[in-house]
């Protein structure tokens, strides 16, 4: 249809151009070379995509550039790794979050009563400062001397085995006292985060519902703590495959919760004030990594073990063969390619299809697509758009964190692992068009391929038929290539390939 051509002319031209360039490059290579380069590119693209898709949806819907998205990738990797290797760390630290969140949720209900008693702005400002000081003080007091370092040390001891090492954890009574102090510290935090002052805010749910959720949360926290020893033994006795799946789930859920925390705590109070939001997420991108270092240490961890499906030290002849042999690598037109990376590509494709279907086929997806264009109109139809914002933030954060978990066996786990993905995902989103889901996918594929081919030419050089010498690129050029591509695309179409807004 002519309208499709008209609406997406720039997109089609750029995609066609990419295909032609790629085709030209491929012409000069043997199939086994370019196929494996493209698979490497697809692996990178998949990981970029898991970060970029959320970044793009969040920007499209809320006009928020979340610089802290890379932190969620790292958070996912660390939570996943701890679930896999060091559940003791989780059993001792998760209760802290469960209890704190429960306390914050409950005391938010006191917000209206509290703030309505203080009417003049000066007193309010003083109250805010006092509450903040009380919250920070109580939380610091609660966590004083918490044996984080010792808990971390377990990373090293237990690849796949049962650990019943001597206590590197606080006695139960001390931990419960810590939790009590945290619950107290949550009260001023909850008052600070209560929506009493902002009428256009989503109103609170009924008290009994909050009590139910908060009570469950606190109970889970306490039970985790009480059962920490038997829980740890049980988890480490599970097969590595089950633990891998648990790691994937825990990492993803941690990302989703992290996203909800960021949206409700930092972003939501400042809608309509984009500079503040930008500065806050930028700050969090630094402070978040500091927090992760404080919790898990600064040292790089070795790659997380892969599931047994990808573990046998052999090379299968085909994918079919790999299903029964579970080899580390598989033969792709004459070259070995790691099977785990095929899994990474598969996850990226599945997420693309899954989220794509959600956007096309469900009411939530319809609301998101509409909200990307005009969230005020969606609101005017009687839809609580703020709640959709939170859901999309949680979804985008969960995807990034999931990317972190599946990247953990491929890259290793270290505090800076997210920064490159944050940057590349950002460039991919700009290339593809801010707010476009398809654009995020296309942008990440272009970047992944550029990166993989760039790396290849740095290593092997370009042997052009009409030149006698082989041209070799420098690694710097390979890295810069992605920025160059971004510049070219933006010159052709300032809003990005599939972009609608400027």
């Amino acid at each position: 249809m002519t309208s499709i051509w008209k609406n997406n002319r720039a997109a089609l031209i750029i995609v066609a151009l990419t295909v032609v360039i790629l085709g030209g490059i491929i012409q000069t290579m043997e199939p086994k070379v370019w196929v494996s380069i493209m698979l490497s590119g697809a692996t990178l693209a998949s990981l970029y995509f898991l970060v970029a898709s959320g970044l793009s949806l969040i920007f499209g819907l809320m006009d928020v550039l979340n610089f802290a998205h890379g932190v969620l990738f790292v958070l996912g990797a660390y939570v996943g790794l701890s679930t896999f290797l060091n559940p003791r760390l989780l059993f001792n630290t998760l209760p802290i979050f469960f209890v704190l969140i429960a306390s914050i949720m409950m005391s938010q209900h006191l917000g209206r009563a509290f703030w309505s008693r203080i009417t003049d702005t000066r007193t309010r400002r003083i109250a805010t400062v006092v509450l903040l000081a009380a919250a920070v003080g109580l939380v610091l007091l609660a966590l004083r001397g918490f044996p984080m370092r010792a808990l971390n040390a377990f990373n090293i001891t237990a690849v796949g085995g049962l650990v019943t090492t001597a206590n590197a954890q606080d006695p139960l009574a001390l931990m419960l006292r810590r939790l009590l102090l945290l619950a107290l510290g949550g009260v001023p935090l909850g008052l600070l985060l209560s929506p009493a002052e902002r009428p256009e805010e989503v109103s609170l749910r009924p008290v009994w519902q909050t009590a139910l959720i908060a009570g469950t949360s606190a109970l889970i926290g306490i039970l985790l703590l009480v059962w920490r020893d038997s829980g740890e033994v049980w988890m480490l006795a599970l097969s590595p495959d089950v633990r891998f799946i648990l790691a994937l789930i825990m990492g993803t859920v941690a990302g989703a919760l992290g996203g909800v925390a960021i949206e409700t705590g930092l972003i939501r109070p400042f809608y309509g004030n984009p500079v503040t939001q930008l500065v806050l997420t930028l700050g969090l991108s630094i402070a978040g990594i500091d927090l992760i270092e404080a919790m898990w240490g600064e040292e790089a961890n070795p790659p997380m073990p892969t599931p047994s499906l990808f573990n046998e030290s052999c090379r299968s002849d085909s994918i079919i063969g790999w299903f029964s042999e579970h080899c580390q690598s598989v033969d792709v037109v004459g070259r070995a390619f790691p099977t785990y990376r095929l899994f990474i590509i598969l996850v990226g494709v599945l997420v693309f299809i899954g989220v794509g279907l959600m956007l096309r086929r469900t009411r939530l997806g319809m609301i998101i697509r509409a909200g990307v264009q005009d969230s005020e109109m969606v609101q005017a139809l009687g839809i609580n758009v703020r709640r959709v914002f939170t859901m999309v933030f949680a979804l985008g954060s969960a995807l990034a964190a999931m990317g972190g978990v599946i990247a953990a066996p491929y890259l290793g786990v270290f505090p800076a692992m997210g920064s490159i993905f944050q940057l590349q995902a950002f460039i991919a989103v700009v290339i593809g068009g801010m707010g476009s889901f398809i654009g995020a996918a296309v942008g990440t594929v272009i970047l992944g391929m550029a990166r993989a081919f760039g790396d290849h030419f740095v290593a092997a050089g370009i042997d052009l038929p009409f030149l006698d010498t082989v041209i070799k690129g420098s690694p710097a050029i390979a890295r810069a290539s992605t920025v160059l591509i971004m510049a070219i695309v933006l010159l052709v179409k300032p809003s990005g390939i599939f972009g609608k807004k400027e």
Partner: protein
């Protein structure tokens, strides 16, 4: 009319700020149940802002908005809308990437709303039926305006806020639009903003004139059409 009509909506002396700017400085509007009431005034007078303040998109800082006897100012817009107020904004705000069908379905407040109202909506705007699969962005201006009104009719709304439905449309299409609004007003009360005085005077029962953020005049349309002085003074070339 012999008995005093009940007002479905009463706007009482609202003050609205956008950022630093004091946009509305005392707007009051009464909208009797079942009527078509029109807001008149020059460009930039504050008509659109009045509609947005009613809905809560730009919440008034002072004054009351009373809908069906209940004060609703200060509530989030989505809740006010869900009470039964439909909004047809200036420039239509059709979702360009959603199909016509999706543009209608997104307005459902409970499952089945669209199915219940389909016949009525396509009776008013038969064109929409054959466009149902097209993206909203591919529609012409007139078709988009019809879709915007249709979208507001999907749930059972008691009040429609319609902002300049004739803007930028060809005369034939304006006639169609007027006819549609006349027919839908048999079911729903309408608060209309309309610069086209001919259209406004033929549709509306009552009017309120807004001038630089204040409501300065209101009454029966039947009286205004004879009041050349008022028309000249406040509406100028628009009439």
């Amino acid at each position: 009319m012999t008995t005093a009509p009940h007002n479905i909506l009463e706007v009482r002396n609202i003050q609205t700020f956008i950022g630093q700017f004091h946009i509305l400085d005392g707007v009051s509007v009464d909208v009797p149940d079942g009527s078509i009431t029109v807001l008149l005034g020059r460009n930039g007078a504050g008509k659109t802002t009045t509609l947005k303040s009613i809905l809560g998109l730009t919440p008034p800082r002072a004054g009351q908005v009373v809908f069906n006897g209940r004060e609703i100012q200060g509530r989030p817009a989505y809740r006010t809308a869900a009470q039964g107020i439909g909004y047809v904004p200036e420039h239509r705000a059709i979702f360009r990437d959603l199909s016509v069908a999706e543009n209608l379905r997104i307005a459902e407040r409970k499952p089945g709303d669209l199915a219940r109202r389909e016949e009525f909506i396509f009776g008013l705007f038969p064109d929409l039926k054959r466009l149902i699969r097209l993206p909203g962005g591919n529609l012409s201006g007139g078709q988009q305006q019809m879709l915007a009104v249709a979208r507001a009719l999907v749930p059972e709304n008691e009040l429609l806020l319609i902002d300049e439905p004739s803007e930028g449309l060809a005369p034939v299409v304006i006639e169609q639009m007027m006819e549609a609004i006349r027919r839908l007003s048999a079911h729903t009360t309408v608060l209309l903003v309309e610069q086209n005085f001919i259209m406004a005077s033929r549709l509306a029962d009552r009017y309120t004139i807004i001038e630089t953020g204040r409501s300065i005049h209101s009454g029966l349309m039947a009286d205004l059409v004879h009041d050349e002085a008022t028309i000249q003074r406040y509406l100028g070339a628009a009439a």
